[in-house]
Amino acid sequence: MSKRNPEYDFVWCPGCGDFGVRRALEWALERHVAEHEIPQANYVIVAGIGCSGNMVHLMEGDQPFGLHGIHGRTLPLSFGVKMGRPDLETVIVAGDGDFLAIGGEHIGPAAARNVNVTCVVMDNGVYGLTKGQSSPTTEMGVMTSSTPYGKIEAQMMPLKYYLTIGVSYIASHYSSKPRDLANVIQDAMNHKGFSIVHVQSPCTTYNDTYDLLKGNRRKGIPGMAWDIPEDHDPTSRQSAEDLLDRPGIPLGLVFKEERPTLQDRVDEIAGSNPNRTAEELLASYAI
């Protein structure tokens, strides 16, 4: 939308992590455009429903195309965009509720297909837009408006889930370092296959985790976020598993696997099977 529409009435709360993610995404797109000399018009942002999905209306500067659909369906919507038009660079922006709860059923199939799209998942561990209910990544025991006696489900571990289910590129980051995050998103977009950048993006209203993530010496809180060591081998599944066994939030590339995309397979089939016209298909029903 950029800044030109005074009537657009959605705003993020002051300090929302999504501001940082938006900045990072804008930088990543800018650089990707420059790096590959792809026209801006060939970029499509598929947005989920929730605070984070509204990013598609809030992006500044040159606007890519956007598709702001229905709750939980960013992956199948982007599947249609990408398989219909392989020439389009497709990026998904969604939150933890949209992507992991209602939309969770689509992650496995997308990973199995290895669709060449990039997901930026903004995880704040809460449903913000509906005013503070628990999400899959809310810690067990935490009291929210929908868990008045504390959350009684286990907390989901998205990174481990992605790794297990066959996602071919997994990165983890947080919103407080947009420059680093931009590099990670750009790298994910350059990955040929299904990539997820899972970003801790705190909700200042319902689940302010800034201190927990970055640490606060004054309050005596050690930071949960840590940089992935340079000697980590992201191409090794075992190393990735070991990495994810460590507590806290890793920052950087966790896992990366090169394998054919669904488009590669489709092109193979198209190359070795008849592409029949409607006329030819009709002729096959001749008596």
């Binding site: 009537e7 199948p76 038009r85």
Partner: protein, 579 residues
């Protein structure tokens, strides 16, 4: 049969799934089609891979076949259960052939036994049992064995060693079967010589015709999830929608399917999916997104019995309410319901054109009863398919994609990769696509979305004998039996008229005018609620339904009785008033 000739025979093969029932009916249909007859097959089976009571029939006629008929002239029963289950359908002069290798019937009935397996063995080809039976059937209806020979030669000439032997054994099987039938002394008549059509034909099922029609109009993106009775469209597309710019794929749910075709439609593709009732229920929200964000796509609902899992392999027309309003909120989805295998092709093509023209979702409603029905229909002329492409925005950036729609036409749609980047938005939005809650935007955009329906006024309609006491208006695959009933009623002097529209929403203006003029509209439909007559009453027309919810299509005779009686009742009432 007084003259021992007939224009029309129904032959039914009944037994268990997996016994080659469909193969037999199909072989008979092809042989008769090759000879110049009109044919139509119909099958019914339980939702299981093998076994379970099943039947497959073929109607062979001298004129285009409109329904699966009233009764059966020859019943082939492969087991006792099948005989008991179907014998009530045998016509007065009809004959049953039973599998004497499996069971026996007491003497004296209008039937005879044949041990097809044993006779097939004697030809040296144990797989020729179906042909033994077909030979017996051919004798009973006076169908030329040479025509079946020709079919056998065509069917089994596959360029393999041994073709010759297989052809000879099958021909022998035909004759062995005919011999048994001859010695039984029974006959149901002699099929009158064919009156071949003066146009080229193809042999095709409803689902294949629908898929072909859609591809003829340019469908190039298809995803679907397996579900009876729509699966054959998915399989057809995966087989045939191959090549650059084309994509067909099985996805993991109907929610994925609808979302993906919306994504593809947004990106400029002509996209489609097919499902049945349960899948349609899951697609409701996605169809609403296509309506709201104004994205062309086509959803085919091949109906079965519902609700819930319902009757997966039976025919019902009970999804109409769901198709007209598949999701929440104010919307009105364009719906086409083809009334024959031939119309399935037309509806497939028109649905794609409509989606492109009005920039939104279109639903095609078919039914189990016509999905797998094989018919020799007029070969569609691809030159007649007027392929429409959406109007694409060609201007500069900063475009108001959802600007108000006026007499200049519908605002062109920007396509990613081209100018006019915007957000296609499922939330209520202003003219550029940004989310808004302001009343004036919601009012204007709601009006825009509904007024686009005015662009869809060109579907096929039929209006006959207006001013009659009552007008029959069937929809979907009940058209055939209703038409047959209408013709019989007219012949018998009943004061009845005919209305038909392939488009159920929006109704073409000419059809609205005819409905307005009608004294009473009688709607034969396969559901409990009387859904189409309820819709017509909602529009303010005088309408009532003749319903059936057995899971089977209408028999014309049922409709003749029920509609005929109603018309007489109306005439009597009218007479009373006048007196």
């Amino acid at each position: 049969m007084t003259d021992n000739h007939s224009q029309d025979f129904v032959i039914r093969f009944a037994g268990e799934g997996g016994q080659g029932l469909v193969t037999s009916a199909d072989a008979m249909a092809r042989a008769a089609s090759n000879a110049g007859y009109y044919v139509s097959t119909f099958s019914t089976f339980p939702s299981q891979i093998m076994g379970g009571p099943a039947s497959s029939q073929v109607r062979i006629s001298n004129s285009p076949v409109l329904s699966s008929g009233d009764s059966v002239d020859v019943l082939v029963s492969l087991d006792e259960y099948a005989y008991n289950n179907h014998q009530a359908d045998i016509s007065e002069n009809g004959v049953a052939i039973y599998n004497s290798g499996e069971f026996q019937l007491p003497g004296g009935g209008q039937y005879f036994g044949i041990d097809a397996d044993e006779l097939a063995k004697s030809t040296g080809n144990t797989r020729a049992a179906n042909m033994v039976t077909i030979g017996a059937v051919a004798h009973l209806i006076g169908f030329s064995l040479e025509e079946i020979d020709a079919f056998i030669t065509q069917r089994f000439t596959r360029g393999r060693p041994g073709d010759e032997e297989i052809i000879e054994s099958n021909k022998m099987a035909i004759r062995l079967g005919a011999e048994v039938a001859k010695s039984s002394g029974f006959s149901v008549g002699t099929l009158a010589p064919p009156i071949p059509p003066d146009y080229e034909q193809i042999m095709i099922t409803g689902n294949a015709a629908l898929a072909l029609g859609a591809v003829a109009a340019g469908v190039n993106f298809y995803v679907g999830y397996p579900i009876s009775p729509a699966t054959t469209i998915l399989v057809w597309m995966e087989q045939n929608l191959v090549g650059p710019g084309r994509f067909a794929h099985q996805v993991s749910s109907e929610i994925e399917a609808i979302s993906a075709i919306v994504g593809a439609g947004y990106a400029g593709k002509k996209s489609m999916t097919a499902t049945a009732g349960p899948g349609l229920s899951l697609m409701g929200e996605g169809i609403g997104l296509a309506w709201m964000a104004e994205i062309p796509c086509v959803v085919v609902d091949v109906q079965r019995g519902g609700p819930s899992t319902g009757l997966p392999t039976k025919s019902e027309q009970s999804d109409l309410f769901a198709c007209l309003n598949p999701g929440h909120g104010d919307m009105s989805i364009p719906v086409l319901a083809p009334g024959s295998v031939e119309e399935c092709f037309d509806a497939g093509a028109l649905a794609v054109n409509w989606a492109e023209r009005f920039q939104g979702p279109v639903i095609v409603m078919s039914e189990f009863g016509q999905a797998e029905k094989g018919e020799n229909i007029r070969k569609p002329d691809l030159g007649d398919v007027d392929v429409e492409d959406r109007s694409v925005y060609q201007g500069t950036n900063g475009y108001a994609r959802y600007q108000s729609w006026d007499s200049d036409g519908l605002s062109p749609m920007p396509i990613p990769g081209g100018p006019g980047a915007y957000v296609a938005n499922g939330s209520e939005h202003d003219e550029v696509g940004d989310t808004t809650h302001l009343p004036r935007h919601h009012v204007r955009l709601t009006h825009r979305r509904f007024s686009k329906l005015d662009l869809l006024n060109d579907a096929h309609i039929e209006i006959e004998n207006e001013g009659a006491t009552a007008m029959i208006m069937s929809w979907g695959s009940s058209k055939g039996p209703a038409r047959e009933a209408y013709e019989r009623l007219r012949k018998a002097g009943s004061d009845i008229g005919w209305l038909y529209s392939m488009a159920l929403n929006p109704l073409p203006d000419a059809m609205k005018a005819a409905l307005e003029r009608a004294n009473l509209v009688i709607v034969p439909e396969l559901n409990y609620l009387g859904q189409w007559s309820a819709i017509l009453r909602q529009h303010g027309y005088r309408a009532e339904s003749v319903t059936q919810y057995t899971g089977l299509p209408f028999k014309p005779a049922t409709l003749v009785d029920r509609i005929g009686a109603r018309v007489e009742e109306l005439r009597a009432e009218k007479g009373t008033v006048l007196a």
